[in-house]
Amino acid sequence: MNSLILRAATPFIVAVMVLFSVFVLLRGHNEPGGGFIGGLIAVAALSIYGIAFGVETVRRAIVFHPLAIAGAGLLLSTLSGLLSMFFHVPFMSGLWVYPVILGQEVPLSSVMSFDVGVYLVVVGAVTSIALSLEERGEE
């Protein structure tokens, strides 16, 4: 789309939206948010980017093929579930560790990596749909 205002504003909007999507993803366990919503926000950001600068720019920006991102997310989620196998607890049991990083206790869990996987699947799959619809007459 050939709008100067959109082109000028897009980089800032997109950067904030992507950052916000990660924020929403990580806070999801205790506040409204989570992988699914975060992923949708990131998709919206990438769609805007695509509308402003074209599909090729988005593809370069995200480096990997969108479906590869989705596949990696699905793998991450599955592995998060399978992790419980090594601790002799049922599939998908949440596992938590509390390492202290820089004097601050940071709770990490297989649930979180699972949610990150959900985020990646949503980002990858929906971006793939949006991008494939956006590009026309290419290939």
Binding site: H29, N30, E31, L74, F114, V118, A125, S132, L133
Partner: protein, 787 residues
């Protein structure tokens, strides 16, 4: 390691061998056969170690729990019956592996072939070793699949592909019958293992479901063992390389059906149905197979049809229920495995060394291939039932069983004599005719086969001789335990080579005289059979093609109707069904929602939001162009999201906002992508029914939601999640904790669906009309047109 683990390991051994086979073959070439043959040799040695105990009447069982909650085990049963089969499969298997090493020497896919062969061997061992009913079925299906791979090994030829497909369809369909039969048997008897079925035989036989069990089990056994009219796949399977024909289609796979009948004889046998159905089908298969064999000129096909005859004879004997019948079946089964395996390999050697299998083009090979000639003759003498081979014992025992003197056995004995005489003629047509007479021109210059090729048939032929000479040992170790296992009671086998004057001997002589007569008039008989077949002009083989073609035509017709490729048809069908599901049951069962009471104290801002939603909807309906409609739909969605927010569901509302935004973006993109016209071009006569369907769906959903909210609300789950979200799952956001933790497996499934949807959309978008290649749709009419 204890015996149970060792037996398990031995049963797994062929599968392990199949894994290393391609790698070994790359390393050692065709000589890998020597190493790979050690696999079946080890299996043979292990089970031969059981023979002492089994011959004393012991039954060895073992295994593991597989699905304990369903009482399904991975368990084996080694008695006289399964032991004989195990030894035949592994023993002949070892020889076949060596033979394949010579036969396919230099073939680029020899490693793959060894792999398939060992997989098949493992499956077959599993079938005969199974104690658990379901385990038998699993291995039974595995033999169908591995034989599909073996028959279609030469997959660049259409005939091989067709034969493989046909074998898979016929034996696979039979497998379904068998599964149903076994499940029914399980439910009637209440036990899931053969070893526990024995004492329950009378329960099964008196059950009202007996006939159903019998027919289903026979459906499995008859297709596998190529009984008429399911025989056609067996000769077609000769498309496989000869080692496969020698192994699967003579010694092992086709005998799986016979094995099953023998295994179930104590349970299902002895009834009038059993004693009529089995002999009738068996006798028909025997005679038809022998007649069809007469027509052939291809060595392998001649042997294939006689295999069919032999299977018919075995089924006949198993079902007879007379003294000596079981013993005869046992002896004939062992004899047949030995001589037919040897003859097939001889046919392969002739093909390999001369380049042709056409019996009319072969002659005078005795000078060039003396050793092969000797082996062939020994096997044929056994097949012909001549002293001192094991075939003689079998034939005497068969006639012993059939001379009971009733009308029924007199008819059967006449048919068996015809069948045996024809098989006698075929045996010598294969084993004698190519070697005697004048030397003919063949595509290749004939010379003696290498060691790897003649070793297998030589061992089999010599075993057939030894088994005949040392009949006492054979009976003690093999025949008597096996016959006892089949009969379900102790049986002794006493047949020896000593000539005993009597009716059986006279019948034997009659068979041989008839056989010689047919052999001498081979050409005339062949012409006669060919002219009769030409007059009939139709057979089950043709019928199979017609059935498959009809099936494809039917599915194309149904698909054309249901999947016409028009989106509006699909949408109409989906939404009409939705409306019917939502509206019809409440009206039928009087479950309509009562009229809701509109609350008086609705705050102004909520009313405003609802008004906005309504405005959005009205705009959608009135919109002149599609883009306006799409955006207006977004207005309604946003209003709903705000309502969610006001009623304390931030997560839901959040998601709704994002979904609405993306839906508008994606719908707009789809519109441009599909180059839809700007405005909706539907005529009024189409918009009216579409609107009616839409309103019916809306009404149905509204009534449904009203009904749901009017029912009492069970707070058990809400309470549980609220209470434990923080304590168990360390999360304050209950919605998210449910998604990623409490019901995380659901989410895993959902993201997999999202992923697949992404893949599907991508491939659909990539498929553009015109530029995309035409996709094969298996339409027979189009295929014929393109030829």
């Amino acid at each position: 390691m204890n015996v149970v683990d060792l037996t398990f390991l031995v049963l797994c051994l062929p599968f392990l061998g199949a894994v290393v086979a391609p790698w070994l073959t790359r390393l050692l070439g065709h000589n890998a056969a020597w190493l790979l043959a050690l696999v079946p040799v080890a299996v043979f040695a292990h089970f031969a170690g059981c023979s002492d105990a089994v011959s004393r009447g012991e039954v060895i069982t073992g295994g593991y729990a597989w699905v304990p909650s369903l009482d399904v085990g991975f368990s084996w049963l080694i008695d006289g019956l399964s032991l004989t089969f195990l030894l035949l499969i592994s023993g002949i298997g070892a020889l076949i592996v060596l033979y394949a090493g010579g036969y396919l020497k230099g073939h680029p896919h020899q490693g793959r072939f060894f792999s398939f062969l060992l997989l098949f061997m493992g499956s077959m061992l599993g079938v005969v070793a199974s104690d658990s009913l379901l385990m038998l079925f699993v291995f039974w299906e595995l033999t169908s699949i591995t034989s599909f791979l073996l028959i279609g090994f030469d997959h660049t030829r259409e005939a091989a592909r067709r034969a493989a497909f046909q074998a898979l369809v016929v034996t696979g369909a039979g497998g379904l019958f068998l599964l149903a039969g076994l499940l029914l048997l399980w439910s009637v008897s209440g036990v899931s293992a053969f070893s526990a079925l024995g004492p329950l035989g009378s329960v099964v036989r008196e059950s009202p479901l007996y006939l159903a069990v019998l027919i289903l089990v026979l459906g499995g056994a008859f297709t596998k063992s190529a009984q008429f009219p399911f025989h056609f796949w067996l000769p077609n399977a000769m498309e496989a390389p000869t080692p496969v024909s020698a192994y699967l289609h003579s010694a092992t796979m086709v005998k799986a059906g016979v094995y099953l009948l023998m295994r179930l004889n104590p349970v299902l046998g002895g009834t009038i149905e059993w004693q009529v159905i089995l002999p009738v089908f068996g006798a028909a298969t025997l005679v038809i197979g022998a007649l069809l064999a007469m027509r052939q000129t291809d060595l392998k096909l001649m042997l294939a049809y006689t295999t069919m005859s032999s299977l018919g004879l075995l089924v006949l004997l198993t079902g007879l229920g007379l003294p000596h019948a079981i013993e005869a079946a046992v002896l004939y089964l062992v004899a047949h495995s030995l001589f037919k395996g040897a003859l097939f390999m001889v046919a392969g050697i002739i093909d390999h060394e001369t380049g042709t299998r056409d019996v009319t083009r072969l002659g005078g090979l005795r000078g060039a291939m003396p050793l092969t000639f000797a082996i062939a003759l020994a096997a044929a003498l056994s097949m012909g039932g001549i002293l001192p081979f094991i075939g003689f014992l079998a034939k005497e025992e068969i006639y012993e069983a059939l001379t009971a003197g009733t009308v029924w056995t007199t008819i059967l004995v006449a048919l068996v004599i015809i069948g045996n005489a024809l098989m006698f003629a075929i045996a010598f047509a294969v084993a004698l005719k190519p070697f005697i007479g004048k030397k003919t021109e063949t595509p290749l210059h004939a010379h003696e086969a290498p060691l790897l090729l003649w070793l297998g048939p030589a061992v089999l032929a010599l075993t057939g001789l030894a088994a005949g000479v040392f009949a006492g040992a054979l009976h003690a170790l093999v025949s008597a335990p096996m016959a006892s296992a089949i009969a379900g009671e102790a049986r002794a086998v006493t047949m020896s080579l000593a000539i005993h004057i009597g009716l059986p001997l006279a019948l034997s002589v009659l068979t041989i005289v008839l056989g010689i007569a047919v052999y001498l008039r081979m050409a005339q008989v062949r012409a006669a059979v060919a002219s009769v077949l030409a007059a009939i002009g139709w057979g089950p083989d043709r019928g199979f093609d017609q059935a498959i073609r009809g099936l494809v035509r039917l599915s194309v017709a149904v698909t054309r109707r249901l999947q016409n490729g028009r989106l509006d048809t699909y949408m109409t069908a989906t939404f009409v069904l939705l409306a019917v599901v939502l509206l019809v049951p409440p009206f039928l069962f009087g479950e309509l929602a009562s009229a809701p009471v509109f609350p008086d104290d609705v705050p102004l801002h909520e009313l405003a939001i609802m008004a906005i939603a309504v405005v959005g909807l009205v705009t959608v309906v009135l919109a002149k162009d599609r883009l306006t409609a799409i955006v207006s739909l977004g207005i309604q969605g946003f209003s709903v999201a705000v309502i969610f927010l006001l009623y304390g569901a931030p997560d839901l509302s959040f998601t709704q906002f994002m979904i609405e935004t993306l839906a508008v973006v994606i719908l707009a993109l789809v519109m441009t992508r599909l180059r839809l016209s700007v405005s909706d071009g539907r005529p009024f006569r189409q918009t009216l029914p579409d609107a009616a369907i839409g309103m019916a769906c809306g009404l149905g959903l509204t009534l449904f939601l009203l009904k749901v909210t009017q029912g009492p609300f069970d707070t058990a789950l809400t309470d549980f999640f609220n209470q434990y979200s923080k304590t168990i799952a360390h999360g304050a956001n209950v919605v998210n904790v449910i998604i990623v933790d409490f019901r995380g497996t659901d989410t895993l499934g959902e993201i997999a669906v999202v992923m697949i949807a992404g893949l599907a959309v991508l491939s659909l978008v990539r498929l553009r009309a015109g530029s995309a290649r035409r996709i094969a749709d298996n339409d027979p009419a189009a295929e014929e047109a393109s030829r």
